[in-house]
Symmetry: C2
Subunit: 271 residues, 2 copies
Amino acid sequence: MCQLLGMNCRLPATIDFSLEGFQARGGLTDEHKDGWGIAFFEEHGCRIFLDHQPAAHSPLLTAIRAQQIKSRNVIAHIRKATYGEVTLRNCHPFKRELWGQSWIFSHNGDLHNFHPVLTGRFTPEGETDSERAFCFIMERMAAAFPKATRDNPPALDDLYSLWQTLADEIAAFGVFNVMLSNGDILFTHCSTNLAYVERSYPFTQVTLIDSDVSLDLNAHNSREDRMVVIATKPLTRNEHWIICEAGESLVFKDGLPLLGSHLHAKKLLAA
Amino acid sequence: MCQLLGMNCRLPATIDFSLEGFQARGGLTDEHKDGWGIAFFEEHGCRIFLDHQPAAHSPLLTAIRAQQIKSRNVIAHIRKATYGEVTLRNCHPFKRELWGQSWIFSHNGDLHNFHPVLTGRFTPEGETDSERAFCFIMERMAAAFPKATRDNPPALDDLYSLWQTLADEIAAFGVFNVMLSNGDILFTHCSTNLAYVERSYPFTQVTLIDSDVSLDLNAHNSREDRMVVIATKPLTRNEHWIICEAGESLVFKDGLPLLGSHLHAKKLLAA
């Protein structure tokens, strides 16, 4: 099993504070010591950093954190190998290009006997069930919107609807807690463990669960900032984390949850 | 314009010494200060590190060098922007997946009015002529060998023949000094500037041109090691660098040049 960390923001922000707690889980406060990866969508580009060494003791991760990279969408992953070699090609997040955009994918859980027929347009490089699921999703998205381009993307409602269908279809094969982003939107699906917290002005002081460190978010954000942090398990002790429901698919944009089945139900109840 | 650095080895080796001279050209001994990138093929995986800051002053590049990553194929690039924003999505090397393998591409030179019709399977994320050329190559390779897989790749002769055709076709649009690798083989094409040096047992002491540093290659390599280092311009002063000819396409494998038109001509002369 693995742990996931994601962030979706209105304006570029650093994820460093959350990453500190997350890094500790990579071999220090938790057992996820078989590699880590983090993808940053920065202005007009995407970078992935991968390592098969434990996150907690990685000089590379420390160097990256020191850069204080600002990003609107981040997906990070620490791994505890259940099967499959501890090797780079099995490290999440995975990346593929579709419609002239980078798509980034990360998965927590196991799928059993998930061997979809793939056309060859997107082919796994490694052996993980996760990368197979990602290639399957990319193929189905490409097939559903054959004329889409970066400048003429599918309507968000249509894409979200397809995401729900695909996530449900794959989740039938096992545990499928996932994040998928193209740098603009961030999709999630929860089978068992996923939680998120919304942050906006006025920001508060928050304290990490995994190390005794506090941060005054007010000092690091402006009135215009707004963000959602998503993780396998809550990272801070004094914030209102929302625990995702089993089977719930969400989409985050501009630092807000949108269109989720859960939210949709809430809206219907409120109406 | 930009500078390229590549390495193709029989056994995994570090490129750190060559990288030291190359890093100096990224804003210290030369003017290539608009970002850098390096791709390492490691056992069963590929990592790219990208930065839009000058290589010479990059803490990230220093941290990467400290890791002493061992690799059989490396492609690195430092950029002096001639047109196109200094932004991450325009940083080389570029990466795409084909046949379940990572393919890495880097280009030095400018292409004029190169706007091939692309089917959409491989679409540029940035604005560079380089990434357009890469997508064009990937599409043509995919189309030429539709049944190829990682376990059943095209014959090297056939792939090299296609590489020559494609490189000639693209080079007609301008200057096309390039490197392309799938982690096993490394293709090059030279329009104006490209040179390589072969290293094998017994290794010698070599001295960098760009900084007054020497290295005894014997201390760092064994009898079984064999490698080729390829660069825009020779990196060391006391080795036999072979300057590529204009229009020459080469392929390197296991630390040796193979099948090159130049070598082929030499072989014919010798026969």
